[in-house]
């Protein structure tokens, strides 16, 4: 993916999966890499398991638009069961990209716009839980090149501590490598 001057991102997840954490980490990593960045949840009554969304705006110039992201260039989907439950492609730009946590591309979306990675498996291997925010961030970095994996790891190190931080950095790097290999292939 060519590095753009601005990129709008939408994140789909379920309450409890760390969707807001993912948005915060992406803002943190992008700001570290010199981007202007703003992240915010789709405001509502967050309940465990319910579909939730969050938005991130990245730009090379100051961000003033505080309305919801309506035309995302990248959509991150933290859970394959969301495809079908919500319209993950809604408003996506013509050259937009969906990064989906799944083993394979579901029949119901156009394959050319989707990259998949089994993020949950990676998370279970590295951190022993299905919390996918740091792995999805590594996936994003590897598939798009919009933020560097070093900035991602620094963001993780700032938000988490000790062993949790180390394990999540390793998880993000593993997701980054897997995604970067597939992007190059």
């Amino acid at each position: 993916m060519e590095a753009p001057d601005r990129l709008d991102v939408r994140i789909h997840g379920r309450g409890g999966q760390g969707t807001v954490t993912l948005a915060a980490l992406l803002v943190e990593a992008a700001a570290d890499d010199g981007w202007q960045a703003l992240g915010f949840p789709s405001f509502g009554t967050e309940r465990t398991g319910a579909p939730v969304a969050a938005f991130v705006r990245l730009s090379r110039s100051p961000i003033r638009d505080r309305g919801e992201v309506r035309a995302p260039g990248v959509v991150l989907v933290q859970d394959p069961t969301l495809v079908g439950a919500v319209d993950v492609l809604q408003g996506m730009t013509a050259d937009g990209l969906v990064l989906l946590n799944a083993a394979h591309i579901p029949a119901r979306i156009s394959a050319s716009r989707v990259r998949t990675l089994e993020v949950t498996e990676l998370a279970l291997t590295h951190i022993g839980s299905a919390k996918t925010s740091t792995a999805m961030l590594g996936f994003f970095a590897g598939a798009t090149g919009v933020v560097s994996i070093d900035a991602v790891c620094r963001a993780i190190a700032r938000r988490f501590t000790g062993e949790v931080a180390f394990k999540n950095e390793a998880l993000a790097r593993a997701a980054f490598s897997a995604a970067a290999e597939r992007a190059a292939a």
Binding site: V27, A37, G39, F40, F43, I63, R64, G67
Partner: protein, 384 residues
Amino acid sequence: MKVMEGAEAIADAVRAAGPKVVSAYPITPQTHIVEALSQAVADGRLDAEFITVESEHSAASVVLGAAATGVRTFTATSSQGLLYMAEVVLNIAGMRLPVVMTVANRALSSPLSIWNDHQDSMTLRDSGWIQLFAQTAQEAHDLHLVAYRIAEDPRVLLPVMVCVDGFVLTHAFEPVEPVSDEAVSRYLPPLSLPFVLDPARPATFGAYADPTVYTEARFAIEAAQRRSAQVLSQALGEFAALTGREYSPDFDRYRLDDADVVMVAMGTAAQTAQVAVDEMRDEGVAAGLVAIRRFRPFPAAELVAALGNASRIVVFDRSVSLGSGGIVAGELRSALYGRLLPQIVGVVAGLGGRDVSVETLTQAFRAERDGWIDLRPDLEEIAP
């Protein structure tokens, strides 16, 4: 630079200001602010009493009493919580206590809504509190420090309500440059009030006023409100010297010099409105923006001076005086009456969390007459 949630940026400023008493009752979307302060007290980073209470009425009463003993105080609320406080909110102003409160702006019932608009703060616009509206997390952080400075100034002695858009600002993540604790301690001198509750020197606060004195006491609040504009200006000047961040004491002016059509907005929508102004300019409309920061005291004279070139003014309101129209629009008409003769169009939108997009604002720019612009055509009340 640190990436912070808006609520965290506010809590960090309040922590640095060092209130001795914090009291609040949880209510969405304010809760993250006092959660962070409660954590700071528990961690020993803030030497304060965090007093948990059973209601907002009590939270306001606690900070009233604490402030009267001469210590710095803080509370925060939203929506119904602010209305529940209302009686005490007016008492705090009447007793001239320099309380600082964050209102994480949220719609009012009924129907029930947890989402953002400005109806809560605006409902208490006549309470005697100074009201400042922030547009970004950085500004929200900074204005809380400035709020203590002006509230506690002996020329003012009035409480300050810092109004921030619920969720849109309180729950957004963005880079913030926090003011260092050392700089805050230079900016905010220790609190010293002329009258305090002290068992050694008993005094009555909130005394009964018969008709011979009530008017004068109320006029004194009005005079202090008026004086506070100049004090705010000075406080912001010193803040700029300290941090390099400049804020206009009345309103921001965006592409205003040659503007023919000017929008007036407050809060986060004023940021998005800059993008709308740029789009209108690209279409050949000489658009500009006034983003009100200080709603109380209302900057009437400053607006008259700034709006002299405009032939049309569009006021974007996220609150309504039901039966009369947008509240800021009404105030602006009153301020300009007999002094300037632009067309003034009051638009109401972005209520109860309805997203304010660039399109919403360009639609407002094009509005020809007063009205509610983002109504859905497929929803209308049936004849009762």
